[in-house]
């Protein structure tokens, strides 16, 4: 499976809307479908038993897609058990069950390579000091390799120096913060955190009268469900941060633990944009493809998953593809996210609470 190098060799990673790339992407996804069908018995059962042709004339759109929840229920492997190198697990949602993703060494390395490629293209190759709105993972002795930890490690590639804002009890370590700002804030630096931590621990708690954040680039993602629960949109989040800290460069990213590595970043105009490594499709509640500018379920295709069949997944998230001439200069699929489809009341005679 060394097709990934072909993608990595391409330096123009935000130029995915050209015929040449589209056909390479389609062929790759088609091959991945065949590959997993051969390697994973349960996946092969799924493909054989379901004949889901909901893509019209598009070959890519007719490929079978798994529901994101399936990784909570089934252990899906396209490798031998003894080749498992790392297991990623989601932080767990309302249902209490966690997704588990099994990586072999190659898949894990490819995730890192692709993430690095996206990050360096987006933010430049120069490493800068990074303030994590997190507890120090070394100190907090986290054994499981959770989604949050994976992201933390992934993004630390941008960091020339790492500092962790939170103490073990979750309170702000002002000593570290002040030292960090004194030393690094005169030049460009990064702040990284999960959307909800940025809001809860950074925005709400920090008194900024004496700190100057104007050179910061803030990168955040994941966990926005908690924010939408308290009624804060991506836009108002940005406005609030800008107003309080004078941070102008704020970038949200979107990705699935099931497709770690191939994440989507916001462009300067606030649209998520695909790279050559992944793409999205919007479907209605009957899984029919929706035209641009219509809201529906987000399906994500990624070239990365090889050790497990996670290359083509329909999510519970709602979004829409925007057909616009964006002056950001990136030629990928532009889209907006509208949060998670609202959870319906669960009824029944079971023990659920």
């Amino acid at each position: 499976m060394n097709y990934i190098n072909k993608f990595l060799e391409n330096s123009d990673i935000f130029n995915s809307k050209n015929k040449k790339h589209q056909s390479l992407f389609t062929d790759t996804l088609e091959n991945l479908t065949k590959y997993h069908k051969k390697k994973c018995l349960e996946y092969s059962d799924f493909v054989k038993k379901i004949n889901l042709k909901k893509g019209g004339l598009s070959k890519l759109h007719n490929l079978p897609f798994l529901p994101v929840q399936i990784f909570k229920f089934r252990k899906l492997l396209s490798i031998n058990e003894n080749k498992i190198f790392k297991t990623l697990s989601s932080s767990g949602t309302t249902s209490g069950k966690k997704s588990k993703i099994y990586l072999d060494k190659i898949n894990s390395e490819n995730q890192v390579k692709v993430l690095n490629k996206i990050l360096s293209k987006k933010f430049g190759k120069q490493r800068r000091p990074m303030l994590f709105i997190e507890k120090d993972p070394v100190k907090s002795n986290r054994k499981r390799f959770s989604a949050s930890l994976a992201a933390l490690y992934g993004f630390s590639i941008l960091a020339s120096k790492q500092c962790y804002l939170l103490k073990e009890d979750g309170e702000i370590n002002y000593e570290i913060l002040e030292k960090f700002m004194e030393k690094f804030s005169k030049e460009k630096f990064y702040i990284f955190g999960f959307t909800s931590s940025i809001f809860k621990d950074f925005y709400k708690k920090i008194n900024n009268n004496y700190l100057d954040f104007k050179n910061a680039t803030l990168i955040h993602g994941g966990g926005w469900k908690k924010l939408s629960d308290i009624g804060i949109s991506n836009e108002s989040f940005k406005k609030k941060i800008k107003k309080k800290f004078n941070i102008n460069k704020i970038f949200n990213y979107y990705g699935l633990i099931e497709q770690t590595g191939s994440i989507f970043f916001e462009c300067k105009n606030g649209y998520f944009v695909s790279s050559i490594f992944s793409d999205i499709v919007i479907r209605d509640k009957n899984f029919n493809i929706l035209p641009n500018n219509r809201k529906g379920l987000i399906q994500i295709l990624s070239i990365l998953p090889t050790s497990y069949p996670g290359h083509n997944i329909i999510t519970e998230d709602l979004g829409e593809i925007r057909n616009i001439k964006c002056n950001c200069g990136l030629n990928g699929t532009h889209f907006k996210i509208h949060g998670r489809a609202k959870e319906a009341e669960i009824r029944g005679c079971s023990d659920a609470r």
Partner: protein, 393 residues
């Protein structure tokens, strides 16, 4: 919490004969109150309740329970109702009331509009002078999960009978709580339900009749999102199938579902996930037919399968063809509650249950009646269980 304990302590015992006039009047008035609510048509289960607790229906049930014995309620009945079925609590309460008891009803922890509506109606009736004794002897309680153990224990220690609606885990947990020696438990644990169609009768039906059965079948499957114990998941075609008619029937169900069921993206994703999980997990399940996302049907390839734990959601039907009724014991296990049927005689099921020593199938009902509530539930005569006989010799 103390206020909850106080309200339990302040309850006055009030027992009566089953189907006493006051309880019948109360339910009839409740029916009238529900009828007055403008939005009631939005809630099919509330709407059905108008009919169920009306005097006419209750008198009919009373007639069926006619007895020469002197019966009277057992005392305080503790109702432990499931957390995610909005309207189960009212049926549980009605059983307790009709059998002549005082009742403490544990309400679902989740908020449901239906519950608000019903409690408002009940409160209104309780404020009438006529029902002052019912007000003093009946209590509806909602308590937090973390207080649950304590309060449930407290109520159990004062109960003469308990009705426990499970989940198996809930039933097990409640059974472990100490109760007075004479306290009896009526437990409704986890069950599954199935449906069976006699093709000999079905194949000769006119289209309009098939349409009607499809409509009834739709209600059995889609009410409560197919999550209730009495929602069927398997459909058995007994005898020679007529593909054309069968397909027409299923297609019709999907069309009714499209029209009547308020599907959103979450329903569909849950349903799709459920389906994919099942077809991956069970090799015995074969190809899937998707009627858009409104209805999925799944063929069963191999009859050697334990269907007990295979449940769909929001409209998934697992289908099997069987040659004879005597193949059914493989599917009617102890956990089987309701069998909805078309085209069979009562005698056929009686024979089947007798000759095959079946421990399952407590309700054999026509298709469309899966959700009809009866005082005999899960094989238990609730009125007789919750009342005692005083014998005179």
């Amino acid at each position: 919490m103390q206020d909850k304990i106080n309200s339990i302590d302040n309850l006055k015992l009030n027992i009566n004969k089953p189907f006493n006039e006051l309880s019948i009047d109360f339910l009839d008035d409740l029916s009238e109150e529900i009828k007055k609510i403008k939005i009631v048509k939005m809630y099919p289960d509330l709407y059905y309740l108008i009919f169920w607790c009306a005097k006419r229906n209750i008198l009919n049930l009373k007639h069926k329970h006619k007895t020469n014995n002197f019966r009277i309620g057992r005392g305080f009945v503790f109702h432990v109702c499931p957390n995610n079925v909005p309207i189960n609590f009212i049926y549980s309460f009605m059983i307790g009331l009709l059998s002549g008891n005082s009742n403490i009803v544990k309400l679902p922890s989740k908020d449901f509009k239906e519950i608000d509506i019903l409690l408002k109606c009940i409160k209104k009736l309780f404020s009438l002078k006529k029902y002052i004794n019912l007000k003093k002897s009946n209590l509806f309680l909602k308590y937090d999960h973390d207080k649950e153990d304590y309060i449930s224990k407290y109520i159990s220690s004062k109960s003469d009978a308990r009705i426990i609606w499970g989940g198996d885990t809930t039933v097990e947990k409640l059974k472990k709580i100490h109760t007075p020696a004479r306290c009896i438990d009526v437990c409704f644990a986890d069950r599954y339900s199935i449906s069976i169609i006699n093709t000999k009768k079905f194949n000769s039906l006119k289209q309009s009749t098939i349409d009607l059965i499809a409509r009834k079948f739709f209600y059995d499957i889609y009410s409560m999102n197919q999550l209730a114990c009495n929602s069927p998941h398997f459909l058995f075609w007994l005898g020679d199938e007529n593909e054309q008619k069968k397909n027409y029937f299923l297609d019709k169900i999907s069309k009714i579902a499209k029209q009547k069921f308020n599907f959103d993206e979450v329903h569909m994703i849950d349903k799709y996930s459920n389906l994919i999980n099942k077809i991956m997990k069970y090799k015995e399940l074969g190809s899937v037919k998707m009627y858009e996302n409104y209805l999925y049907t799944v063929k069963l390839k191999d009859s050697n399968i334990n269907i007990e734990d295979i449940r769909g959601v929001n409209g998934i039907i697992f289908q099997i063809n069987v040659k004879h009724l005597n193949k059914m014991p493989n599917y009617i296990k102890k956990k089987c509650q309701t069998v909805t049927q078309f085209g069979f005689k009562k005698k056929e099921f009686e024979n089947l249950i007798l000759t095959e020593n079946l421990l399952g199938a407590d309700r054999i009902v026509e298709i469309g009646k899966a959700f009809n509530f009866n005082l005999i539930w899960d094989g238990v005569d609730t009125i007789n269980s919750l009342s005692r006989i005083v014998s005179f010799e």
